[in-house]
Each structure stands twice: as C-alpha cells, then as structure tokens.
C-alpha cells in the first residue's frame, strides 16, 4: 500500500525511510486519515516530511502523484535558477560573440527563450536547429557550436566551457566518493574546536574534584583541566558557481555545519579563485562586495583560513591579471592568495574533488604549490589532516 508513492518520494529526492512509511500506515490503520484527501495530505506531511525545506518538494510530488500525472516528475527538476538567468552574462564571451548575442536580442532574451522551449519540449531531442538536445546548432543543448550556447545535460569532458552548465540532474545521486554528510562534517569540525582545551592541565576542576571525592567516599581526589582558550576563529571562503556546481551541495552542508559549530566564524564566497573582493550574500554578489584587503585587515592573523573549492579552472585565472572569468582583475589571483596567506599563517584548502584527479588538472597543482601543499580532500580523513595542519 502506498508503495508507489513512497518510491516516488524517494525518487523525488526526499530521504523518507521505511520507518516513516510504517508510521503512516499505522496512523491510517487507526483511522487518522479520515475520509478526505486533505486529511490524508496533512497526515502524510506530518509523518513523512522532517524539515521545512522539504515541504515544497513534498507538495509537488504529492500533487503529481495524486493527480495521476506520474510522468510529470521530471518537471520537478526543470527549474532554472534565477541566478543563472540574470548574471554571468559577460562570462567567457569575446567581443565578437557578444555582438552575436546582441543580434539575437541579448542574453536575457536567450535565457527567456530557453525557458520557453524547456516548457514546450517534451521528448529527448538530437540534432536539428530549434529543440534543446545534443549535437545541434540551436543555442541550447550540449556539444553544439552556437557560441552563445547554453549547455544542457552534457556530462563530462569539454571542460565546462559553455556559458552555462545547465544539467537537469543537478542533484544526481550524491557521488559515492563524497561520504560526508552534514553530521559527519560536524563531528570532524568539532575536533577543531576541541583543541581549544588541549595543553597542560593546570586549572583546578572544582566540580569534577567534588564529584570524584564524593564518589571516593570523602578521600580527596584533585582533578585538573587545561585552561580554556575559547578563541577558535575561522575564516571560511567558499567557492560558488561554475565548475563548483557539482559540489555546491557538499559545500553548503559544510557551510551549515560550520556555522553552528563555531562562535567566531566569518564566511565569504568567491567564484573559482580569490581576487580583490569577496562577497557574503550570493544573491547580491555584484552589489555587496567586501574588498579582500579589508578582510585581511579586519580579521586578525589568529583566524584560521579555510578555502573550500575544487581548484578546477583555467590556469590563466590564477596567474594572469584579467584572468578572472567574471570581471577584469587588475592583479592576478595568485597575488591575492599570497597576501591572504601572508596574513594568515594557518590556512588550508579543502578540495571536494577526489585526490586521484588532482594530478590531471594543472590549476589544482598550481594552487597546491601556492598553498604550500596544504590541500586536502573533503572527506573525513582529509578533514582530520587539515585540522591537524591548522593546529
């Protein structure tokens, strides 16, 4: 009973488990669902959804299932992030190409057309010049040659050189190589906090002494603890957008984990590499920037600096002035990261890409050199090493 619905929820990306399904069935057996669909909906929601962020997804799946439109499940994933529609229009385009886009009505027009066609189009498509698919000359799709093309569903290769990476399966099953869940990361990050209490035991622990003495039937048992330096300060810089899209989820988990774990934590976003400014709110990345120098001045050198990024980019983005894909940078990124590293002696770079792949990307090697080999994979073991390095 309800099994198809259950599997649809799981396909839809909800982490509903058997326990919850059984609870729902038990509740229905006790007559809680009543006669109306509304009641059943409320009951199913309170049983199966465990976080308000999943409510919307649940509603859509519920709607799709109970209208019998099972096929429309695919549509659930077809939303185009507004961010993409609006920004990065300047990305990677030569003057000539830009002129071509202008001829087609500009970037916004292009994205609007994409959205329309996504809605119009129902089947997989190949070739041709209008529909979205592969190997065509339409501006939308993969492996095509339209310079202002928007890439859709193209896996691997091509080094992500299209204007947009628009994979419908943005949340493809979380890669097995990424074993880090939010709680895992939290546990690992706690180690960072823990060393706040390491060192010589030089303070009398009154509570513990009383407790141990009492348990000892009154024989004095002195207990000592190390002094508490509650001063773990972390400056977290997260790569966002572009080639990081695959890792955005891991990064966000990392980010949410970190935020509740430290008292002194500042976080900033960057795109691909560090330049003269970073930003705090990704939605307002163009209007509210913080100069990197200000950051280095404001946050003292006792902050631990953690970069999270896949370090996959064109080497130009690191070593050349003007190499940034987003804007014109007066000074190369390498200069900026050196400035930060000069300020912050304790710094690591966490890389969500598996370590085996690092060798094949020149930019990863470059960054590793810049970081003085302090690059670690984003796994429990890697975090352990990174935290040891930060000590």
């Amino acid at each position: 009973m309800l099994l198809p619905f259950f599997y649809m929820l799981r396909e839809g990306g909800m982490k509903t488990s058997i326990t919850e399904l059984l609870t729902l069935l038990e509740a229905m057996q006790k007559g809680l669902a009543g006669q109306s669909v509304d009641d059943f909906y409320f009951l199913a929601r309170t049983t199966l959804v465990k976080d308000e962020s999943e409510l919307d997804r649940f509603d859509r799946i519920f709607g799709a299932y109970f209208k019998g439109v099972e096929d429309s499940l695919a549509d659930l994933f077809q939303e185009i992030p507004e961010e993409w529609l609006r920004q990065q229009a300047e990305l990677n385009l030569t003057e000539e190409e830009r002129a071509q886009i202008e001829a087609m009505g500009g970037f916004e027009e292009l994205m609007r057309a994409l959205q329309e066609r996504l809605e119009e189009q129902e089947d997989r498509h190949e070739g041709g010049s209008k529909w979205i698919g592969t190997a065509g000359t339409s501006p939308f799709g993969a492996y095509g040659y339209n310079p202002e093309g928007v890439r859709i569903g193209q896996h691997g290769s091509r080094n992500r050189s299209a204007v947009k990476v628009w994979d419908k399966r943005e949340y493809r099953n979380l890669d097995d190589s990424l074993e880090l869940g939010t709680r895992n990361i939290k546990v690992a990050l706690r180690r960072l906090r823990k060393f706040a209490r390491e060192g010589a035991a030089d303070q009398l622990d009154l509570d513990d002494t009383i407790d141990k003495t009492a348990r000892n039937a009154g024989l004095l048992d002195i207990r000592m603890v190390p002094e508490r330096h509650n001063a773990i300060k972390v400056l977290l810089c997260l790569d966002i957008g572009g080639s990081m899209d695959d890792h955005v989820r891991v990064c966000e988990e990392m980010f949410s984990a970190a935020r509740s774990e430290f008292k002194h934590l500042e976080y900033f976003y960057f795109h691909n590499f560090i330049y003269e400014s970073l930003w705090k709110d990704n939605r307002r990345r163009h209007s509210e920037k913080t100069p990197t120098l200000d950051i280095a001045h404001k946050y003292g050198s006792d902050y631990k600096l953690i970069f999270v990024g896949d370090a996959t980019m064109s080497p130009y983005e690191i070593v050349y002035a003007g190499g940034s894909v987003e804007h014109w940078n007066e000074e190369p990124g390498a200069v900026w990261i050196k400035r930060l590293l000069n300020t912050y002696g304790k710094a690591v770079w966490l890389n969500p890409e598996p370590r085996e792949r690092w060798e094949y990307t020149p930019s990863t090697k470059l960054i590793r050199d810049l970081m003085g080999d302090r690059m670690y994979p984003l796994t429990i073991a890697g975090l352990d090493d990174a935290i040891r390095e930060l000590h």
Binding site: K15, S17, T19, E20, T23, E26, A27, K30, G31, L32, D38, D39, F42, L43, R45, T46, T47, V49, K50, D51, E52, L55, T182, R183, K186, R190, I210, D211, T213, A214, R215, A217, G218, S256, A257, S260, E261
Partner: protein, 285 residues
Amino acid sequence: MTDNKFTGTSSYIATDDLTMAVNAAVTLERPILVKGEPGTGKTQLAIEVAAALGKPLHEWHIKSTTKAQQGLYEYDAVARLRDSQLGDDRVHDIANYIVRGKIWEAFESDEQPVLLIDEIDKADIEFPNDLLRELDRMEFYVYETKKLITAKHRPIIVITSNNEKELPDAFLRRCFFHYIKFPDKDTMTEIVDVHFPNLKKDLLAEALNAFYKVRDVRGLKKKPSTSELLDWIKLLLAEDIPPEALRAEGSRSAIPPLYGALLKNEQDVHLFEQLVFLDRRTNPQ
C-alpha cells in the same frame, strides 16, 4: 481511536494541519517536533494541548548547558558526602540521592501527561541522540540503583526547535513534524478574535493592515510575529487609539502609533524610521 481529540482551545487557534499533526502524535504516542518563526506559538502549543485534553503538563526548558542525563536523573554525590560526614543514616541508601529529572517525572505520572521539551536546538549537538531510546521505548536505566524506569503511560511529547542546530536523522525519524507557518490574514483575524473578543472590526482590520505592511519592510532583523501583534493591539486598546489614526498611514508615510511594540530591535526601529523619512521626502503630501 482515542476519544480525546485536539481541536484548538478557546485561546489558541489551531489550523487543520496542526490539529492533524497533534492528533497523529497523540494517537500513535510518538513525539511531535514543532518548528516555526519565533513568536508563532510553538511553546504555547504544549500548554494548550495539555489544557485541551485535561492532562498534566511537565515542562523541560533546554539551555546550551543542558545534558540529556539531567532530564532523566542526577546523582547528588555532594549531598551524600555531606551526610556521610554528619553520620546521617540516609547515606546507606544511594536511592536517597537520586534526583529525578523531568522525563522521569513524566514517566511516573499516574495519568498520561504532556511533556514539553522546549528549544531542543539550544543544547549540544549530541543531545537528541542521547534521548533516542528514551523517546522510542519510553524507558531508561538507573545505573546507581540498577533499576529500569518505564513510563506508566507514554507521555505526549511536544518538542520545539528554532533551527539553530540541525537535528540528527535518527531522531527526526522518531518524531512527527510540523512547521507552523506564519498565519495568513484570515487565521490572524481568528487569533486576534479569541484574544480580544470585543475589538472593533474596523480597528482590527486597520491594525492588521499596518502590521502586515511592517512585516513586508525589507531587511528587518526580526520581523514582528503573532505575539508582538497581540501586544501591540493590547497597547492600542489601552491607549484607546481610534482606527482613523491607523488609517492615516494608508499613505505609507506615517509611522504607526506605538510601533515600539512591533519592532524589538534598535536597528530595525532605526531602519524603519529612515524608510518613513525617505518616503516622506520622495512623496511629499
């Protein structure tokens, strides 16, 4: 099917989905986790459920230093040490020094109680994990006296969270979940009605308009919520402010009277005043 069903009370408006969530939790005797904006009545829910079903209420308020063990019991070793030196006879029985926690109290209750675990997210990250067995089987073991404490009646457990920390999956799986949405205008009218039954219709309409307008101001640190609205209306009534005074701000360029009750944050008040000031300059009347 239990005979008692929760449908809200004379002082608490419960929406249909909330009613369903509570009744499911009551029927299946499983904890219910309630989240929502501050001030939407999460804590109040447990109090009202207890009142509506006529059951005793046990409240356990969680702080950042609270340990799961404290909800079960604590062993007062210091008292025992003192008694041993005074030669008190009580010292021979360790059970005399076991102090019961809130969960134990609820387990021992002679009729089915309501247990409120308030703001569970304030505690340490491992806190919910330490309560898994207790919430699941409704029993725990007292090591000092080697006794197993089992709930006489499985309590109705209401847990609230403000989302400061994420809760572990294993814990979530054992709970029903409800997110209290911010009430829409109709529900809000009902809520205000039960609190101020004699409120004039026009004053209420104007007050609600002004209230939602303030909520729509962008960039507020803490948006005013239901409890602030109720306070504000109380003040409006006390000061006997006529509805017209509120309507005057229909032009968006006046500050609602007594707005200090709605905005609790200095920066917010400041921001709000600035916006009103700007608005007056750009739209002079």
